[in-house]
Symmetry: C3
Subunit: 398 residues, 3 copies
């Protein structure tokens, strides 16, 4: 029996009115209430779908996706979220478009948005570029709407930028909340966000940055661990420090994986490239210096190879709280002896956590749908109740 | 408050019954009443959407798109139009299909149309090919429907061919109608359709041809201007002449851009390739003569470069009526110092007209939707009123 | 006037309850009743659509497609079927995904399925791989559903594997049923499934295998004919033999095309590659032996060229029952003097059967929709009646 009241009761106590007609760039640009509103709406939408209640609030409308990097799960999560709310996904494939002809961001943004209610963008490869690009798009469509060009301002959903990966980290954290039995239970728990060895290089920084930027404010004691030289963005470290201070939690950085794993309740071991190297790479691409890029790549792989011991092994897991820390990963993981010779995680550890990992991923469609819902619906509490009362079937199969 | 009567009142006075179950190839194959019906239905659909009234007349059904050339705005316009009416877009990507195996047009057309209500095609690159291909497709599905293979005959929407670009020019002209305050105000106004310099070559002729083929019959005095050697298709020039004669308007050709701009109310400066060169190119592609194509390309770029003075500068704009002519472009434009060193238009001119240009583009989804609506709906006046009365919400967010 | 009772009356007498929540891999894994249920539901859905009755049983939900080989008609058939039932197609383009990063089938299958109701897969190129892959996907999502990762288990539709092509052969056979005036009329009729010459090589075996695996159980006397060396899979020959035995029909293999065509009521001449060669090719790809593949290709083309007389000519057709056998093909066909110099069929034969061939293809969307319907709807008889009674319009255009 569906009863959405369990979520709307909490939602009613939160102040999230600024999300209406807003966009979602970085989690730390949102208030604690706003973050919690995303969780509650995500849970409510999931609850309704599980009870076969349609949540289609759009009768027509487009959800535009723009992926400047490969994607499976985020692509399907975005498509699922749009579909759940009644929007049809239209992918902007830059290869098939005329954008190469020298069209400006401002122009493209308007041209694709005449009937767009949402724009989802992944642009995570170049430092200083992705988030900036998203802001340019939002500025363009905001002005387009103000000027009467667009009937509606599409809401932006950051599907991963150079700074943060909010849909991922919000899904990760909602998973932790469910596993620990409520957001209030995160307080004082230890989370280890650690680097891990991977035979590939140049993995984005948005996950570790997103993690330290969000889990600190949820009251968790966050330890960021990486080998010397794998520093993340200074600004985000600063965000994490301030969050911890405000939340009364700890934020520590160490170059010792074991120290991070020690007594951790949650571990998130994952490879990334050093921020400085990513900056250098961005510059080299900017200059079109392909020889420079090759040299950098070689250097980074050699640097990675010095840290093959940064692996989430059984031994490492045994250091955690009762040896039973919750293992997180954004997937796909580099699994030793499965997808590569040496990787981020031992096969036995990964296998043991397969179910929780898949559940972790299952929250992303709902997180994205919640972001859209909160940006589009004037009174989310009333609308969720209305959807439950109307009880239109999601699938009319019984 | 929505009141669609302002549009249906006009629609009731028009004779457009032949559009039912029809197709849209070239504007000059339609009567004046039929053209005006497209404008009225486009405005009505826009009015309903702006008032949050759903115009989904299809509960299921496919809109097939086939783009044989890159496209952003037409692709998204077609997707928006289909979505607005309840059709799901399915793209025929010839690279992923089996068409290369030697399948005939007739066969492909039927195979993709079992549940297709609309087929939109862009095929503008080769002289004598695009429009012919569209007719072949329509002949095939018409026969398929007659023979009981297809339950419905999908309607064809020409999304740009070698002869005309009807969805573009109808959007352009509806924009002019709105800017001038009504179709009756176009009479006697001067429109300059002029060539402009671009560092690229081989741009389609469908826009200038479409413009002289349509604006002449709307009662405008149309001047077509280009450097010697950049002639367009003779047949379309003939169409323009006859239109002007019938409408009591003027149609002139000049090799002087300034003469065209002089006292113009509307200017449309845009690059295109000479018709003769496009014919030659089509032949060379037919023969697979890649060296010939390279030589032609070189020759055309050199020829273009002799006419860098054909630019829509501030000085040029000052020649127009009170220096305030409405500037049109199908976008993307080659903007001097922005997208190239020398282009079709000065940055300051383009910037000043950015809002109107984007509004011009915003009509295309509605023009396409109107074409579909008129081909599919038996009694458009009654249906528009019914949609307004039912007042199903487009977005159920309040 | 719609009356779906003609189909539900037959459906009521059939036992197909095991199809609920099931998947569709191979026709011979289904009972006779289950096969007939697919025909009845396909006919019923078509009947409803022809009478403008909506059959959207899903208000939201995704239909995932994965094509590991080019496809036009199957791609559009799957899209049409999903759309007809209310599902939005989301294509898993492996090139744009992260699957290359070493992700497992199990993981991908779950990651794309959070809101998937259907997964359609074409994977026909490698012996021992396609069907196995589909089973891996189904095992993964079944476990995902059992473990609480997935809210629903998507149903798998085999859109062609290395063994069978069930949506094709069920469409082919439903066409035969319609042409012969009822399933009971197939008994004792002769069908010739014969190899035919094609200038290309490596065509899949799934059609001939699917044909002998299905038509034998429908009571037809099936003759499989091919030049020596073009044997199909032993296991499927065994299936055909047993089917014939059980149905009291004949199943014969010959190396003489004329013998097969002699007095045939239905002929299905089509090229395929020898099973042994396809196995060899699979091994060579497995080893990455590109030289070996080139040598094999050359050998196969030379072998094909020895059998140019295996063509469905007028003379060959004249051997059939009253010279009027029904000609089948899955399309596209290699037509002599049309798509190639020498092909599978003479142009005059193909032309005479063009309409029936297109009708044959037109059943595929409904076959796919029926497979989904039977896997998802608890009481198909009641639901079909309910849809008819509600009589929601497919297109609201009158």
């Amino acid at each position: 029996m569906s009863n959405v009241k369990q979520f709307t009761d909490k939602l009613e106590k939160l102040n999230y009115e600024n999300m209406y007609n807003g966009d979602f760039f970085l989690t730390w640009e949102k208030t604690d209430d706003e973050i919690q509103a995303v969780y509650e709406v995500a849970d409510a939408l999931r609850h309704l779908r599980e009870n076969n209640v349609s949540t289609k609030i759009f009768d027509s409308g487009l959800g535009i996706s723009l992926f400047r990097d490969n994607s499976t799960r985020t692509r399907f999560s975005f498509a699922s979220a749009c579909n759940l709310l009644g929007l049809e996904v239209q992918d902007l494939d830059e290869g098939k478009s005329q954008i190469a002809h020298g069209e400006t961001v401002r122009e493209t943004a308007n041209m694709i948005s005449f009937m767009a209610d949402v724009i989802g963008i992944r642009d995570d490869m170049y430092i200083g570029k992705g988030n900036t690009y998203m802001h340019n798009v939002v500025d363009a469509v905001t002005q387009g709407h103000d000027d009467g060009v667009l009937e509606q301002k599409p809401t932006l959903v950051n599907l991963q930028c150079d700074i943060d990966h909010p849909t991922q980290i919000l899904a990760d954290s909602l998973h932790v909340i469910h596993e620990l039995g409520g957001i209030e239970n995160l307080k004082g728990k230890k989370l280890a966000m650690t680097w891990a060895y991977s035979p590939s290089y140049g993995k984005p920084l948005s996950v570790p940055q997103g993690a330290i930027g969000l889990f600190t404010r949820l009251g968790m004691d966050v330890t960021l661990a990486y080998p010397e030289g794998y520093e993340v963005m200074d600004e985000v470290v600063e965000v994490a420090r301030k969050n911890a201070e405000k939340a009364g939690s700890k934020f520590e950085i160490t170059n010792d994986m074991k120290e991070a794993f020690k007594d951790a309740d949650v571990v998130y071991p994952k490879s990334w490239a050093p921020f400085k190297a990513m900056e250098e790479r961005t510059d080299l691409y900017g200059k079109g210096d392909m020889d420079g890029i090759k040299a950098l790549e070689k250097r980074l792989l050699a640097q990675n190879a010095e840290h093959k011991d940064w692996e989430c092994t059984e031994e490492m897991m045994s250091l955690t709280k009762e040896g039973k820390a919750l293992y997180l990963h954004c997937l796909p993981a580099d699994i030793t002896d499965v997808s590569c010779e040496h990787g981020e995680v031992a096969a036995s550890v990964f296998d043991r956590y397969r179910d929780p990992l898949y559940k972790e991923a299952s929250f992303k469609p709902y997180i994205i749908a919640a972001m859209i819902f909160l940006a589009k619906v004037k009174d989310p509490v009333a609308k969720l109740k209305e959807l439950e009362e109307n009880a239109k079937k999601r699938q009319n199969v019984d």
